[in-house]
């Protein structure tokens, strides 16, 4: 039998803030609860039928009391609202230097890919005291990536990216759950989050067979799906060149201009006719249904890796290799 634990482990930068908020909520509630229960019990005893307590001078006008407690509760509630809202905005504002880790949910497992290409299932290794941002998506139904020890959770929806960030503060192993009902083995869709010292984490990273990086895999897919036939440097088809594209504005056929971000790349693969770059014929076929979510991530990563290239020099591996390592 489990122990009589009252609080989950406190292991992220959000967790301590959340526990303070929890304490404030409990304090406010306890105050109201004791007030209501106390008065109720007091009245029930004092004014029970048959008691001789004085019942004279009953309150005639009630509106003053009513107004007073309406305003008092409203102000207390507003205070709690702003506190929670402030934290919520924080939970949704990842720091710039957060490391991105991709998470794809599918019935009934979490597939996790580190930026260096290391892959794991149902376990997430992260270094302590480093901000981490998870980019979540799902291959089938809605899942939810929940880490109670970090006090965070976020639905992973099919067809779009959601994000979630935290800074682990305590080395250890913590529970990971799927919190949105997703079918038969919903209760078994989870595992653990392992928080390690940075040096241990680096060792762990190195010991993993990283496989090709996301971008390198993306480059392979770029060829195997025939993308390079039109978008490649040697192609004769009049198709937009992808080198140096990412992050830049793209003028569209209908006069609008969009930034070539993750969404744009993703949509251009799945729904190529929706935002046609100005000056190009709308000839690209849709790849919707042919490329899975994890492959899409790789393609996007590849196109991103071409961001600071100029046409004619497209070797993802070399590009990636020459990039600087993350600050230790």
């Amino acid at each position: 039998m489990g122990s009589m634990r009252l609080l989950p482990p406190t292991a992220s930068s959000h967790a301590a803030d959340m526990d303070w908020l929890f304490a404030a909520l409990i304090g406010t509630s306890a105050f109201i609860l004791l007030l209501v229960f106390g008065l109720m019990i007091l009245f029930c005893v004092r004014y029970r039928k048959g008691s001789t307590a004085d019942r004279g001078n009953r309150m005639g006008r009630t509106w003053r009391v009513e107004t007073a407690w309406t305003i008092a509760t409203f102000i207390a509630f507003l205070g709690l609202y702003f506190w929670g809202a402030d934290l919520y905005v924080g939970i949704h504002s990842p720091p710039k230097d957060a490391t991105d880790i991709y998470v794809v949910g599918k019935q009934w497992m979490w597939k996790i890919e580190h930026p260096g290409g290391q892959r794991e299932i149902d376990t997430l290794h992260v270094p302590v005291d480093k901000p981490v941002r998870l980019v979540l998506t799902s291959q089938d139904v809605i899942h939810d990536f929940a880490i109670p020890a970090f006090r965070v959770r976020q639905d992973a929806l099919p067809g779009r990216y959601e994000t979630l960030w935290f800074t682990p503060t305590k080395v250890g192993e913590y529970r990971l759950f799927c919190a949105e009902f997703c079918g038969t083995w919903h209760a078994r869709m989870g595992g653990s989050v392992v928080v390690m010292e940075p040096s241990d984490f680096q060792r762990w990273l190195d010991s993993q067979d990283p496989g090709p990086s996301l971008a390198q895999e993306g480059e392979a897919l770029f060829r195997s799906h025939g993308c390079s036939g039109c978008h490649g440097t040697a192609s004769t088809v009049h198709a937009p060149k992808l080198e140096g594209l990412f992050g830049r504005p793209v003028p569209l056929e209908d006069g609008r201009t969009v930034i070539a971000d993750d969404r744009y790349i993703r949509d251009s693969i799945l729904k190529p006719k929706s935002e046609i770059a100005a000056g190009y014929p709308p000839v690209m076929p849709s790849f919707a249904g042919q490329i899975g979510e994890d492959d899409l991530l790789k393609l996007v990563a590849y196109i991103k890796s071409l961001a600071d290239k100029t046409a004619g020099n497209s070797q993802a591996g070399r590009t990636a290799g020459s990039a600087e390592r993350p600050a230790p």
Partner: protein
């Protein structure tokens, strides 16, 4: 309250010679084709009781399964159990519970009318309810629906096996039953009040059923069309809720919660009404701040529509939407708090007696206060990020729905039992049941708050071993609760045969329903009463006749 004509002299027990139970005949046909609101209320009470125990049986099995971390049933059986529990309890017990039983019975009596405005629609509503209920049971038990009562897409539309379309059809149909009831209550309250029965002379029970009806009429159609869209998506594999088909699953959630959050108020507002009747009667004092209580009901009914996306704080809605919906959710907590303060203040300087209905009412106030206060927790944006979809939420809404609404249902049932059946129930048994329910309930659901904060997720047939301690406590409480809920079945049943005959007004209560005989005649009043005073004019010296 001054009444022009009542059956018998005031203060004297009226032996009903002519009453609705026998007047139209006692054949099955006379019951199944009745247009009398009181008989339809009885039909509803019987069928709702059946569904309550079906849903309760599922709950018992759920708690049984959760005694061990590995679970006892297979995940598929467990998933069907909580789906059965959710669908039956929400649509076939909670939503119709008080409105369709006591509301149906009492609204015409309380406003001095002979029947509801549209008796045929009322009967049709019952047939829809029963038909839909049987269909839902068939779909879940035979076809095995495992979507949960929320039917989230794309799981429900594309991935779930089982008779999901039939279950959707059942909920669609019961929605129309609910709409017809709401429509009938709104129209009746507006058009059939007795002379002198002004709006501010209406009992709070009528007001809160009116507020409930507004929600029923305006929210339910959105649920109906949403579920229809899911069903078509499932049948045709084309639709607007599955991203693989070009749709948006959040659109489903918006439409679903546009109904299902206000539906929470459908479930609790009538309970407020019942408590507002019981507390003044047993405190022998007018309700404190009548107008505030009335207008907080109406405010809740309207603002209840403004808060739905607080179910979606981690579902992928925008940051801005989260900020708006959380603020609105805090706003709606205020009128709920006002009600609790008013009931408590009603006790002040009263002459309080602790008959069974009052015990249920006091239990309601306590449990609803805890449920409402934990609502502040889950409405809090940041806190919700930690506890959404955990047992914290489960405990929160069970405190409102079961601790609150079911207590109110039982309280009202005991309070009006003499009026409905003409018999008194054994008081001590009723008090024991009320106490068992209160303690059993707290033992069942309080540990779930702790489980939720620890991170135990909803809809898990198995869980990590460190959660077992609290789960065992919860399951132990559930067994006490089950006994508490089963008890009234026996002693109320017994009272039908052996109970002492009740007079017209055993509690010496005010209100038109107590001015006619028990059980009332088919058309309620021999002559339409005239009302000259506000409600709840209690005087301490008027003692209950049969107490």
């Amino acid at each position: 309250m001054t009444i022009a004509t009542v059956t018998g002299k005031p203060g004297e027990p009226v032996v009903a010679t002519k009453n609705y139970l026998t007047e139209e005949g006692v054949t099955l046909r006379s019951w199944l084709l009745t247009k009398d609101h009181k008989r339809i209320a009885i039909l509803y009470t019987l069928s709702i009781t059946v569904f309550f125990f079906v849903g309760g049986a599922a709950a018992t099995l759920i708690r049984l399964n959760l005694v061990t971390p590995a679970g006892i049933f297979t995940p598929d059986i467990y998933n069907r159990l909580f789906t059965l529990h959710g669908i039956i309890m929400v649509w076939f017990f909670l939503i119709p519970s008080i409105p369709n039983t006591m509301g149906n019975f009492l609204i015409p009596l309380m406003i001095g009318a002979k029947d509801l405005a549209f008796p045929r629609l009322n009967l049709l509503s019952w047939y829809l309810y029963v038909g839909a209920g049987l269909l839902a049971l068939f779909a879940i038990l035979v076809g095995g629906v495992d979507t949960g009562w929320t039917f989230y897409t794309p799981f429900s539309s594309m991935y779930s096996n089982g008779y999901v379309v039939l279950a959707l059809a059942a909920v669609f149909a019961v929605g129309f039953s609910s709409i017809l009831t709401g429509l009938n209550f709104i129209v009746t309250t507006h058009r059939l009040r007795a002379p002198g029965m002004t709006w501010y002379r209406l009992p709070v029970f009528v007001w809160s059923n009116y507020a409930t009806s507004v929600i029923m009429v305006l929210a339910t159609p959105v649920l109906a069309i949403t579920l229809a869209l899911v069903a078509v998506e499932r049948l045709l594999r084309v639709g607007i809720f599955d991203p693989a088909l070009g749709g948006d699953p959040l659109l489903f959630q918006h439409l679903f919660w546009f109904y299902s959050h206000p539906a929470v108020y459908i479930m609790i507002l009538p309970g407020f009404g019942v408590i507002s009747e019981i507390v003044p009667c047993f405190a022998r004092k007018p309700l404190f701040g009548y107008k505030f209580v009335v207008w907080s009901s109406i405010t809740i009914a309207v603002i209840g529509f403004f808060v739905w996306a607080h179910h979606m704080f981690v579902a992928g809605i925008s940051l801005y939407a989260g900020l708006v919906f959380s603020l609105l959710s805090y706003v709606i907590a205020v009128p709920s708090a006002i009600k609790v303060f008013n009931w408590t203040a009603t006790l002040h300087k009263g002459w309080i007696s602790f008959d069974a209905p009052m015990l249920y009412a006091l239990g309601f106030i306590g449990l609803f206060t805890i449920g409402g206060l934990t609502g502040l927790f889950v409405a809090n944006l940041a806190f919700d990020v930690h506890v959404t979809d955990t047992y914290f939420v489960v405990a929160h809404f069970h405190y409102i729905m079961v601790g609150g609404m079911v207590s109110a249902y039982f309280g009202g049932l005991h309070y009006w039992w003499p009026k409905i059946t003409g018999r008194l129930y054994p008081e001590w048994w009723a008090r024991i049941a009320a106490l068992l329910i209160f303690f059993g309930f707290n033992l069942t659901f309080f540990p779930q708050f702790i489980l939720g904060y620890l991170g135990m997720e909803r809809r898990y047939y198995a869980y990590p071993p460190e959660f077992q301690f609290w789960n065992i406590l919860s399951s132990a409480g559930a067994s006490i609760l089950a006994v508490g809920y089963a008890l009234p079945l026996f002693y109320l049943g017994w009272s039908l045969v052996r109970g002492k005959r009740a007079g017209a007004n055993p509690w010496a209560a005010t209100g038109l329903e107590w001015q006619t005989s028990s059980p009332p005649p088919t058309h309620n009043f021999d002559k339409t009463p005239t009302v000259t005073r506000p409600p709840y004019q209690y005087r301490p010296e008027a003692e209950p006749q049969d107490a």
